[in-house]
Amino acid sequence: MRWIQRLRMAMLMLFRRSSETARLDQEMQFHLDQQIAENIAAGMAADQARSAALRTFGNPTLLHDQARSTWSWSWLEKFTRDVRYGARTLVRSPGFAIVAVLVMALGIGATTSLFTIVRAVLLKPLPFHDPNNLVMVYEHFHDNQLGDGFNVVAPGDFRDWRAHTNGYQDMAAWREYGFNLAGEHAELPEVVKAAGGSWNLFPLLGIQMAHGRSFTPEEDQVGANHVVLLTWNIFQRRFAGDASIVGKQVRLDSNPYTVIGVLPASFTYPDSKTQVWVPYAQTLTARQYDAHDNHQSLVIARLKPGVTATSALAQVSALQYQLHLANASKPVAESAVSRPMIDDVVLDIKTPLTVLFCAVGCMLLIACLNVSNLFVARSAARRKEIAVRGALGGTRLTLIRELMTESLLICTAGGVLGLAISALTTRWLATHWDALPRAEVVRMDVPVLAFSMGLVVLTALLAGLLPAISATGKMAFGVLQESSRSVGGSTSRATMRKTLLAVEIALTVILLFSAALLFKSFMHLRTTDLGCVTDRVLTIKYGLPENQYNTREKVVAFHESLLEKVRRLPGVTSAALVSTPPGGGYEGDDVFTIPEHPPAASVLQDDAIYRSADPEYFKVMQIPLISGRVFTDQERLTRDHYLVVSKKLADQYFSSDNPIGRHIRVSWDTPEPENYEIIGVVGDTVYDVAQPIKPTMYFPILSGLPNQVSSATIMVRTAGDPLLVSVPVQKQVAALDPSLPVYDVLTMQQILGKTTASQSFSATLTLAFALLSLLLAAIGLYGVLSYLISQRITEIGIRVALGAQRSQVLRLILLDGLRPVFLGLLIGLAGGAVVGTLIRSILFGTSPYDPVVFAAMIVSLLLTAVAACAIPALRALKIDPMQALRTE
């Protein structure tokens, strides 16, 4: 066990250094004494013997040092010495130290936060068994306007894929669903987000239930006994984590469901808001279950070992083509597409997150350049000290090491502070960033700590090395020969400062530019014209459970009496029903044909979003009627097969003739497609602010169309603050049916806010980083100019004494400061144009070459630059020539 002894020795030397040193002295002294004694014995006089012994022995101090240097801790001693020295010099200029530490803390903190999130969200494997073999399989979507894409899968297609292909170990399907969960024991009823999953989904993902069991194949049948799995969230929240709930019943949509199991806390797929899982087939009707044109399911497949994703997919695609041929009259895709499951989960966040990560990286680099610049300034102020030390025999390496230690000290302090900042901001981001998937796995752990330690070292190198090398260059030692009037020795350093500054400005410009683009794009989203008047409108959703409201009369009666009561509420000016409000999402679409038109040669089928509305809706939302008329009060109750279309649909499909009186043929769930007569054309509304307008069909909401009656949104236009009527409206619902939960009580403004929350978040963050960078750049600019002026006091003094005008001095100083700004601006603009192209995909309604953004950014940068230059320039103006000359 030699290493134990070696470790013991090392520790001994580390902790009992002083006593060990004393013993070494003692040992050497003994040696000397022996030698002296021998010399005396040989006949020398005492003092002669002593000096002879010393002569042969050599320099005891040097020997001492050499002996000590074999101890493995000499580097530590040197390091401690450097750190002490560094700390002392830093304390002597606390202003510099504080600014530098804060700058680094901001940079390191922000970068660590974003890294924590990027690592958790984009890089950590999914919490499933062997997640790398999981893929999502979609139908290939093609649309003339929207191009190619991934379309959700029809149940019939899924079942054929699973039965007749063999590239996958297994395939499972799930679809989103929703329930009214009845309140029991005085609990409020609530609308729960649910999902229907095929029985093999959890085994496929390798999920073990926390309590109870998963679905059986028998339960995954249309019309089978109702069973439900609870997620950990609702199990804790609503059932107090009591495992005895397994085996008991809960009421979903007024039907009893037996709880058969509880999912583990780690299972938060597809999101943490999903509360219950029911068998897939139980969320479908028999017709939907067999359909090849009912696109609403997601398919997860696990690749067989040794089978590539491409070859497994090729088989599914071939099969899909057969299905397409066999169902020629229906919208059945011609092929299939797939992508890794992790890509699917992080799809929407990948680009914004990458942009943000690059933005903080950029900011960190700016922070480094800034500290670097501060160091150059300081080392310039310490030129003499460094030169003296160099002259006294300090090697260049020693001097560099010492200067680097200072930078390491600053960056370490910044890193520690930054970690604290990051710990707070990471938590905040994970909880407040709604669009962030997998937020629950975001945490700071060992790799994150290692990352930030790496950052500290890297930033210390970045910030310290260049100034240290330049400060100790050959020129630096010439300073001793310089008279104080000469500034020749510092020219190269001034050039370097200006170069660093130009790079810093260029990075700031790029960052500002991207931020401005994102922000403009976000503002564009917020002010998107939805096609209706959105102020003072309250929306409230409610759903009618099908087994209670099982006849059309009951449904109509409920809607009618609710509308009537709401309209009579004080403060309400009008109210109407619609299936989904503008900006409220896609919800559903359907393909249609136009009987009056010749059959399309293309395999592409025409499709449009469907909405159901009552006649008042268009009036309440002030959607203009372009031609024809809307439904009458009578028509909304009968199935007269009338419909209203949007302008987009009219323009796209009836460009040359009048659409009024023409027909649209839709198939719904009916055995035969039905014809609907177009009675009116209304203005377009936007279903999603980030998407182009789609053709829309409006059906009467009370006409009993499938999927259209059970849930509705009541739109209430008010005279005053719309939120004031939210409680009265909810009371009206409760008065009609106390078991009915309402949800999504939102003003139209809030709906807009909700749909743009993700963009708003990344735009705000990027803007914050950009503004911080601008501030950093301003600090850098100010620092450089102040220094340059302090260098040129004498020169300016002489100029003034020789009769230079104030304006000339001002111009001299400003030009000096603004030259690197202009250079940086030019480089930055070129870089910004490149970055703009890269982030084009997350911009809405904004060109990456937006001249307004360009102009705004240039102006703000120049204003900041002038402000940063003004103070040192004004100081230069105040220089008294006599004073300046006298200091010589």
Partner: protein, 109 residues
Amino acid sequence: MGKPSDLVQGTLDLLILKTIALEPMHGWAIAKRIQQISNEVLQVQQGSLYPALHRLEQQAWIRAKWTETETGRQAKFYSLTAAGRAQLEREKESWSRLSNAINLVVENV
């Protein structure tokens, strides 16, 4: 007697190990003994002795103990450890290989 020559590079460790293999010794005695046995040919530089002793101690090839000398003074006595004995064998073997090789070249070429 010629001028004391410097040690062949890298042989100091071997000499120290060999010297204290017989009995524990303090630094001065080690230097003295090497000088004596080599008929004053090998002169251990004091400057390299103590760093070498520390290095060997750090390697755990020798251990040190403070003991009283015959004259009643405290001195640091070094002795071989088991690992040190093995190291001595290795160094001896490596030395004899090297010196044989040098001999071969010197005599035969």
